[in-house]
Symmetry: C2
Subunit: 322 residues, 2 copies
C-alpha cells in the first residue's frame, strides 16, 4: 500500500496553489458563545467548484506526465469529486471521463458538463458502475483518480490543514487545540492526519459523522474497517466507507469519532447559515453538530472546523421539509 | 450642514478596527464569465451583526465623550442599523434605546434585544415614531445616531472602501475601475464617495437601486432630492430616501445610478448564493442585478461590489415564493 508522505503534501501545495483559492477563515462570536469554545471555520465551500475536493483532484491532474495527461483522467462519482476532477482537468486542458448513475441529480450532471467533463451513465448498482467504468477506462486510457483512496488525493486534501495552521499564525494568538472535520470515505480526515501529525501533532483530530452512516465510528471502535451498504443520511457526502489508505490514517492519528443525528445536523446547518452567513452542505454541519452535542469535550478550546463544501439545492433546503 | 472629511474617515478606521471584522474579498470565475467583467465582492455580511452598518454605528458609539456615553445612544430603525447600534453600544457597555413599530418582524426585535438594546414600540406611522422617539430621547438623554444622515456614520461606512482598496493591493494586479454599492438612504454610497474621491478618484462609483424604490435615481436625474412615501420592494434595506448629507455626496461624486426589477434582484440573489456561496440580503443583490443588466457598461472592467448585509429569514427565501 503506497501512502503519501509529508513531503508529498508539501509538493502538492506548490503544485496546486495557482489553481485553488486560499479560502478564508471565518468566526462568529455568537457561535462561540453557543459552543462555549472558540471556533474557526475554514471555508472550503469558497473553492471555485465549491468543495475541498478540488485540492486532491488538482494535485492528481497536475502531477500527471504529459503522456498520461493526453489520455486524461477518469472516475466514478456523483458528488463533488466528479465536478472537482472535471474542473481540474479543464484547467489543464485534458479529458475527464465520469461514470455516473443515470439517477444522479440533473444539477450534478450539469456541473460536470459545465467544466467539460464527459459523463457515461450506468445503472445505479455497483456491478453496473464497475463494468461501465472498466469499459470507459479501456476505451480512453484515462488515469483513474479515486475520490479518496488515492495517495495523490490524500496529499492534496492535506494542504487544507497546512493553510489553516498558517492562517492561524497570521491571525495571531495561540494555535488550535483541536481540528474537526466530517468523515465519509476519509479523504479530508486522512489529509488532515498526514499534515498535522508532522506539522502540529499537539492538535487533536476529531472526525464527525452522521449517526445514520456511522460506519467509520464503528470501524474505529472495532479496530477494523466496517462498510455499510447504502446508508441513508441528509449528509450525502458522507455515505461512503473507509478504504485501506484512509483507514491507515484514521486508525493511527484520529483522537475520536463523534456522531450526530439528522435533526442535530440540520439544526447546525441552519444556525451556521444564519450566524456565519455562508452557504454550505449538510455534510459540513456535522462538525458543529457534534461540537454542540459534546460541549464538555470542547469547552474553552480553540477549535478548527473544516467547512468542506457548498453545493446545495437552494430550492430544497432541509429545514423547509420539517 | 456638517460633512465628514477624509481625515474623519481615517480616524474612524483607527477607532473601529478593534471592534469590526476586516471582511474578506471573494471572487467567482463563473460569475465573472456571466458578467463579462472581473468582479470582487467585499463581504460585509460577515460582520458579526451581519451588516456594514456596524462600521458607522461603532464610530458614533466609540467617538462619544464619557459624559455622553453614560446616557447612551438612541435611534429609530427596524433594520440593520438598530441591531448594529445595539451591538456597538453593548461593546462599549452603554445603553441603546431603539424605537421600532410594533409591526416589525420578531426576528429583528430579538436581535436588538440579544445585543442588549431596549426597544420602545410605536405605531407604524411617521407621526407616532417621531413622537415616541422624542419622548424616549427626553427621558434618556441618549445621543441620536441617525441610520445614515450623520457625519460619524458616513465616515464609518467610508472605512469599507478604504479596506477594499488596501485588499486589492494585497491581492495584486491592477486597481478597481468601478465600485458598485446599493443605494437606499445613501449612507454606504456617501462613505464610498468620501473615501474614493480622495484615495482613488479614478474609480467610478455606481449606485444600484430597485426600480420599485428608485427615488435616488430620479433625484439624480432631476438634480434635487425626491422622496417617495413607502415604496414596496423585496430589497427592504433600500426603501428610505436620501437626506441632505447623503445627497451632497451622491450629487457630487456618483457617476451613475442604475436600477433593476424585483425579478432581476431575486435572480441575482439566487446566483450569488449558488456560485459565491454566501448568505446575503436581497438589497445586496441589486449591484449584481444592474451589472448583469448593463453588461456593456462593465465589460472587461475590474468591478468592486459591496455586499452590504446577510440578515435574511431562511424560512422565507424569495425564490421559494415564485
Amino acid at each position: 500500500m503506497d501512502l503519501p508522505t509529508y513531503q508529498d503534501m508539501l509538493d502538492a501545495h506548490e503544485r496546486i496553489k495557482p489553481h485553488i483559492n486560499r479560502t478564508p477563515v471565518l468566526q462568529s462570536a455568537y457561535l462561540n458563545e453557543l459552543a462555549g469554545a472558540e471556533l474557526f471555520f475554514k471555508c472550503e465551500n469558497f473553492q471555485e467548484p465549491g468543495a475541498f475536493k478540488v485540492r486532491g483532484a488538482t494535485n492528481a491532474v497536475f502531477g500527471l506526465s504529459e503522456e498520461q495527461a493526453a489520455k486524461g483522467v477518469a472516475t466514478h462519482s456523483s458528488g463533488n469529486h466528479a465536478s472537482c476532477l472535471s474542473y481540474a482537468a479543464m484547467r489543464r486542458g485534458i479529458p475527464c471521463n465520469v461514470v455516473m448513475p443515470h439517477t444522479a441529480p440533473q444539477a450534478k450532471k450539469d456541473t460536470v458538463r459545465r467544466y467539460g467533463g464527459k459523463i457515461t451513465e450506468c445503472e445505479p448498482s455497483t456491478t453496473s458502475r464497475e463494468a461501465t467504468f472498466a469499459k470507459v477506462q479501456e476505451e480512453t486510457g484515462g488515469d483513474f483518480v479515486h475520490p479518496y483512496n488515492d495517495p495523490r488525493v490524500i496529499a492534496g486534501q492535506g494542504t487544507c490543514s497546512k493553510e489553516f495552521v498558517e492562517q492561524m499564525e497570521e491571525i495571531g494568538g495561540e494555535a488550535l487545540d483541536m481540528m474537526v472535520a466530517p468523515i465519509g470515505g476519509g479523504g479530508m480526515i486522512s489529509g488532515t492526519c498526514l499534515t498535522l501529525s508532522t506539522l502540529a501533532p499537539e492538535i487533536k483530530i476529531i472526525a464527525a459523522e452522521p449517526e445514520q452512516a456511522d460506519d467509520a465510528y464503528r470501524s474505529f471502535k472495532a479496530g477494523h474497517i466496517i462498510a455499510d451498504d447504502a446508508p441513508e443520511t441528509i449528509a450525502d457526502g458522507l455515505k461512503v466507507p473507509l478504504k485501506d489508505r484512509t483507514w491507515h490514517f484514521v486508525s493511527n492519528h484520529v483522537s475520536d469519532i463523534m456522531t450526530a443525528s439528522e435533526e442535530e445536523i440540520i439544526d447546525a446547518m441552519k444556525i451556521t447559515w444564519k450566524y456565519l452567513r455562508i452557504v454550505m452542505e449538510p455534510s459540513c454541519a456535522v462538525p458543529l453538530a457534534v461540537i454542540l452535542k459534546n460541549k464538555d469535550a470542547f469547552a474553552g478550546k480553540r477549535v478548527g472546523v473544516i467547512v468542506t463544501g457548498g453545493n446545495v439545492d437552494l430550492d430544497k433546503l432541509p429545514w423547509m421539509a420539517r
